[in-house]
Amino acid sequence: MEKLCDYFFIYFCPNLMICKNLFIGIAISNKLYIFFFSLLLPSRRVERAMDTLIAQLQRRFCDFTISLYHQGFLDDQFTELKKLQDECSPDFVAEVVTLFFEDCEKLISNMARALDQTGNVDFKLVGSSVHQLKGSSSSVGAKRVKGLCVTLKECCDSQNYEGCVRCLQQVDIEYKTLKAKLQDLFNLEQQIVQAGGRIPQVDI
């Protein structure tokens, strides 16, 4: 059964289509596959099974979203981005978030290069880069990254070299953690849509 699951996952995921009579549902969660074949099951049972799958995915989505806010990864600005997204721009949030992570990579790299020049560190360059990164993180609601940028800016203003290096490492870890979590969130959204469900509104 598991080999068959893998076969279908490799060849049909992520563009899996759900047919009414031939029902194949795959929910990928911590390597757990739920896999149904039904040519013989009446369509009403299939629909009920689908509804259960969608409800489970929607619950996971809500819980995961709430946890991102409660753990301080995201703030209200992310909610504002979601409100701007509509049918005409269904990938707006993913687009903006991608631009943010590109900013992170570029600016962190600039700062790391500047800090590598031990004895001749251009704190003005570091300060200007962290100012930009703080602005970007504020625009997408990346709360923890923004907070670390504030600390990094303070270290930079006081020309605290060790503080800057330490802080920059934390910024790097934090943005990568957020990137992974948002990818999980977008994957959940995709699974809900592919299963025929709607993305639920989450009240924070």
């Binding site: 600005q77 504002e80 981005l81 409100k83 701007l84 509509d86 049918e87 005409c88 721009s89 707006f92 687009e95 903006v96 631009l99 943010f100 900013d103 100012h131 930009q132 703080k134 602005g135 970007s136 504020s138 625009s139 997408v140 800016k153």
Partner: protein, 142 residues
């Protein structure tokens, strides 16, 4: 290079100024902010064009053909910053409403200098629909 995007009116009412959509110029060096502000303007029913820095914004107005109801002007930009750009546009007799976009870290004196360059108003990042909408509606009604 400046780019254009057209606002949709599917969900929200357009804000009309003398029976036309609000035409907005977004001046910001950060592509993320340009995209965000573009989307905000589109959502409230406007159409927008973008410029990557103040110099591009000035070039757009050089031939006297440009006509924007609103210019969203970022403060910190390479080549020509928001303060210098605003001064230059006012010298060129540009009468568009110019709203400066500052960051939390900007000092009060910096904001004051930005306002004195010729802004109509100043807003703090991050911009949201809630910040821009009442500003545009109110000023255009007056």
């Amino acid at each position: 290079m400046a780019t254009k995007s057209t606002g949709g009116t599917e969900k929200t009412k357009s804000i009309e100024v003398k029976k036309k959509l609000i035409n907005v110029l977004i001046v910001d060096d950060d592509p993320l902010n340009r995209r965000l502000h573009e989307m905000i303007i589109k959502t409230i029913g406007g159409i927008s064009q973008t410029a990557k820095n103040g110099e591009e914004a000035v070039i757009l107005h050089r031939d006297g053909e440009a006509s924007f109801d609103l210019i969203l002007m970022d403060k910190e930009m390479p080549e020509r910053d928001g303060v210098s750009t605003t001064k230059k546009l006012r010298e060129m007799k540009v009468t568009s409403m110019i709203v400066g976009v500052t960051s939390v870290a900007d000092q009060e004196e910096e904001r004051k200098a930005f306002m004195e360059a010729g802004l109509n108003h100043c807003l703090e990042k991050p911009l949201t629909k809630a910040k821009i909408f009442p500003l545009i509606s109110h000023l255009f009604d007056a």
